[in-house]
Every structure is written in C-alpha cells, then in structure tokens.
Amino acid sequence: MKRWLTAGLMLLLGRRKRTLPAPEDERIVPPGGADLRAENAVILLLLAAAVCAAGFIAAYALGSIPNRTQFLGLALGLSFAFLAVACLVVARRLVVTEELEEEYSPVEHLEEQAAIQEIVTESGSRFTRKRLVKVAAGTAGGALGAALIAPAVSLGPILDTSAFYTTPWRRGRRLVDQGGNPFSAEEIFEKLFYTAFPEGAEREDLGAPIVVVRMEPAQLRLPSERSGWAPEGILAFSKICTHAGCAISLYRAPLFPPAGPKAALVCPCHYSTFDPATGGDVIFGPAGRPLPQLPLTVDENGHLRAAGNFSGPVGPSWWGVRRKDARS
C-alpha cells in the first residue's frame, strides 16, 4: 500500500531526469529557467478542468436534478475556464516568449508572372481565329450557365401575382372568432378590439384575419363610396399591416394610455398607425398604403357578414400592388 502511494506521489510530483539539452548556441528555441510554481499551478488547473468535466458528466447522468441546465453550463464553462488559465500560465511563464523578425513575403514575382502569361499565350498559338473561339466559348458558357440556373424557376410561381390579390372573403361570408363561433353585432363593443376570420376558410392566408372595432357612427369620416360599409359604426380591416406584414395587434383607443387624440390601429413591428374612422388612412409610421377595409353587413340573425371584398389588396406591398383590387 505504502509503496503504491509513494509510486503515485512520484508519478504526480516527481520530475523526470532531464534529457541532455543541446548546447545553448545550437538551440532553435532559446533556453529559459524552470518555474516550479507555475508548473504546479498548471498541473492543478488541468486537474481542476478534469474535475469540472467529470462534474458535467455527473450532472448529465444524474436521474433528476433541479436546474440541470445551469449545472451543466457551469461545469462545462468552468472546465474550459481552467483550461484557458492553464494555457495562459504556460504562455506567460513556461514557454520562452521570443520576439523574432523575418522578411515579409515578396510583393510580387515578376518572373513567374511573365512565365504564366507566356505559358497561356503560347498554348493558344495554334488557334487562328481567337476572337471567334472566345465568342463561341462565351456563348456556350452563358447558355449552359443559364440552362443550369433555369430549374430554379421551379422554386416558386413566376410572373404571376394573382395569388397576392386573392382573399377568402366574399359577399355573405360570416365573421367567426378563433373557436369558429359567429360574431353578432351586439357583441362588438366600443374601445375594444376583435380578431375575426372568414367562416370555413384557411386562416393562415394573409387575406383571412381581420380586426373589428365599433365607433360612434357620428365620428366616422369614411370616403363617400364606402357609405354603408360600417353598419352601426362597426368597422372591419385587414389585420395584416400594409408595411411589413405583421399582425395589427394594438388598438390605441382613447381609453388606454398612452392616449393618442383618437382611436388608432397600430402594428407592433414598426408602429405603423392607421385611423379606423377615415377608413384606414396612415397617420404615423412607415406604412405607405391605407389598411384595406372590409365592408360589413348585419344579417337577419344579427350576425356580422362580409358585404364584399377589401377596399384594396391585403398585406405588404409590391411593385404594382395598386394595379388591381382584392378579389375572392
């Protein structure tokens, strides 16, 4: 037992007999003195890194411990930290820091440049109509390149913007909530904000979600051609901002601070602000186009229904967006 302990201690602490170093003037790396304290520190740091790494394995393997992620991060992070410090001690105290100098590589190799040029020109000396060959090669390269790129068109529809104009709304379609229940007009209160979807349609389309608000009919300043679009002062707009496609999810009615002077629909991405009273005009922020309004009617059961399609294309704008109207 005692012999094993001694052997272990020797293994840990003993220093190997030095191999005879080369005479000092023949060495490549200059000599430096031993630094026992630094050496001991490095050994301890490396062992500490090993202990932390073992701690990581333990934290990983244990059945169920609270804050496992924190322990794992701490163990691994500390293990690397100990290694880092060990390396820095080696760098500062245990290897010779030599500052050497050498020439930068030459600026250029004139002879080699000339040789390369010569090889290329001489290799082509049997061609008599070089320009024509170059044009032919260029044509082949261009055509083949185009042929190889052409299949990329399969990635998506091209020269076809019809899908951008299409929305699931049409005259008579009922407004339903998240759970599919129809909205009745009397459920829509002032100063609140409702999200509605077209009944029985795909909800992930940009054209599907709308916001519904109720305002005092006397406050409305809708364009004349939209008279009758807001029965009882209930207005519906596309929920998708015309600036960058986020969902309009803030309703700044005067009830809520920070109170603007009037009610406004606001997008939380870049704070485009739309005025519901005037039919969705932009009053602040970067949107370049009004929020499309959806005409509403109230049916005989008091349920809200669309009375047609939006006042303009839904969602973010593209080249030529204003050319056509939204359609079903």
């Binding site: 992070g77 500052e99 951008f164 992930e204 960058a244 496609g245 991405c269 704070y271 949107a287 593209w318």
Partner: protein, 445 residues
Amino acid sequence: MIGRTVRFLDQRSGTAPLIRKTLRYLFPDHWSFLLGEVALYAFVILVGTGIYLTFFFEPSTAKTVYHGVYGPLHGVEMTRAYRSAIDMSFKVKAGLLMRQTHHWAADVFVAAIVLHMLRIFFTGAFRKPRDLTYYIGLTMLLLALLEGYVGYSMIDDLLSGMGLAIGYSVALSFPFIGAELAQLIWGAPFPGDPQFWSRMYIGHVLLFPLAIAALLGLHLFLVAARHHTQFRRKRESEWKVVGVPTFPGQTPRSLGLFFSVASVLFLLGGLVQINPVWLWGPYDVSNGTNGAQPDWYLGWLIGALRLVPDFDVTIGSYTLIPNPFWGGALFPLAVFAILYLWPSLERRFTGDQAFHNLLDRPRDAPVRTALGAALFTWVFVVFLAGASDRVFILLGISYDWQIWIYRVLVFVAPAVAFLATKRVCEELKAGELVERRRKQAEAPA
C-alpha cells in the same frame, strides 16, 4: 516519440519543411489582433453545438397538438418545428444548454466580426495587399447576418414568424423583381409553401455554414500568405515582420483564447437565458406582440424600417417602390456597398497605390477615421432608433417624438461625428509634433 511521429508524417506526406515553417510563422502582437480569432472560435462552437441541435430539430410545418412537459402550452396547436424546439429545450438532457450556447455564440460571432472589421477599417489594414482578404471578411459578415436570421426564423415561434413576415415584405418590396423574388424564396405568398422550411433548414445547416467555412479558409490562407500587419514600434518596418512564433509562443495563447471563448459561451448558455421560445408561443399570421426585438445584429434594420416616413413611390396609382425597400434593403445594401468600395475609393482619392504592411493609427489618417466614424455613427443612430419602443416602455418618452428626433439625428449625427473626429485626430497629431520638436530641441542640450 516526437521523432517517430515526425518521421512517420514526413515520410508519408513530405511536409516536414512546411510544418517547420508553420511552427516558426510569426504573429505580431497587439490585443486588437485577437478579435478575428474570437470570431473564429465562436464559429467553431456554433458548428459544434449546431450539429447537436440538428439531431433533434424537425424542420416541418406539419401541425401537431402539444401535450409535453411544459404545462402552459398544453393543448395548443403548433408546427412540429416549434414543438421540436420546445422538446429539445425541456426533454433532451443538455439540449437547452446547447440551444442557448448556440444562440449566444451567434450573437458573439457577429459582434466579434463587427469589432474585427472596425479594427481593420480604422487601422488601414484593408489596404493593398490585403484588400481581397477584407472583401472576403465583409462577405462572411453578410452571410453571418443571413445565417443568424434564418437560424432563429426556422423555430416558428411568434417572434420568428413576425421576423419572417418582415423579411418577406422586404423581399417583396424590391422594385421590378420583388414579387418574383419573394415567391421564389417562399414558394408561395406568405406564410409560404411548407417547402420553405426545407429551404431554410438546408440553408442554415449546410449552405450558409459551408460558404462561411470556405471563405474562412480562404481568409486565413490569405492572412498567412501575406503575413499579419503590425504597428510601428521599434524594429517593425514595411519589410520586416516582428512577432512571436506559432510554437511555442503563440500556441498556448491561442488555445487559451479558444478555451476562454468556449468558457464564456457555455457559461452564458447555462446561466443566462436567451430566446425562451416556449414563452413566445407558436406563430400564426393573425398574432403579433408588442415590444418584439430581433437579435442585436438586426437592430439596425428594424430601426431603419421604423424611421422611414409613410410613403410608397407611386406614379398615379402604380406602385414603383414600396416602403420597406428603403429601410430593409437599400439602407443595408448602401452600408455594405460603402464598405466594399472603401479600399478602391481610398486608393483613388489619396493616389496611394503602395503596399502596406505597417498599420496606421486612427489619427494618422484623419479623413478616413472621420468618414469611418460618420458611417458607424449613422448606422448606430439607426440601431438606436430600433430600440425606441423599449425606451418608451422604460422611460416614458413619447415614441412618436423619439422617431422624429432620430429622423433628424440620422443626418446631423454623422456630420458632427465627422467634424469632431477629424478635429481630434488633427489635434492629437499636432500635439505629437510639438512633443517631438521639443525633444529634438532638448536633445543636444
């Protein structure tokens, strides 16, 4: 043992001369030369943790109803992509550590590249013969931004969905080609074809990292081929490089730096929460949340999108340029264009065609330093504007007012930065001249 290994390698590969040269390759010493190394090591950690994450992530928009260990989302319908991100956070041991470390490493990666670029710019390290190295570095920055954006976008949580909507709108806003561009990338109008998820995934785990790795290799090759630049101190000159050899001097330092970066990233990943996607909930086009912020390196883009006043460029009723183009595309493209063009512009205006191995101190080139300060002030003001909603929540300063102030500052601040920086550089140089003259005068006495 060492002798045997070396003999084995040399007899098989004949590379002993190359290895010897590599061991004695010289590294000039200055703390700011380590920034690029930090970026390199963050990339290594990104690849390592990223590979682990691919084992558990499902890039699928197929719908599923959540019944996992995280109570608040019970019964919520979500995509498999989002579900797998939550499961790897809660069910996979060490999964959350790897996910958070990956996210932190991405933030540190881009930060280190940007700081490295600032160092290169303000010391004139981009001059001939290192302009090619600089262009490659810029390209890696561009790829890193896209890579980071795609990475957090494919999780399909509420925040990433809003980010994708914005990215889609910016693509859509390009003049002439916007509608085609957006539909080619997304496969269909937003939220796009399910194939879009495959495209993001292969982009994030293969195409972008491969491109970055290839450019990284080229970048390092060019650095080594031309040797590192250095400041003029004692023995340094345009023709003589002074530095520490790879081995033994530089190796423990570089290893130490690598382990330090790894340590910081894993400590952050384990102890400091980042992007807790389970709190955001799944994305749906009809949902949005207030106070959403992207990762820091896209803050300048959200700022630019917010600053632009409300106009589309139209002729009559025909839309030419939709609004998001200005802030989301033209602004970053302009910043990158200036950075790409800078070395040739500087050559043209100074007439300096020479090779440079010695670095300028920022004050040595007052106009470059001042123009650089103006450019980065410009970007920084826009970056700050991206945080104005947070400032409103924290300090109550009206959002509208802040935007108006930033709209003015965007023009004023770069001009002020230019004049102030130029003045400071010139004063510093004048001060040095006075000092040198006095020393010369005192020397004979």
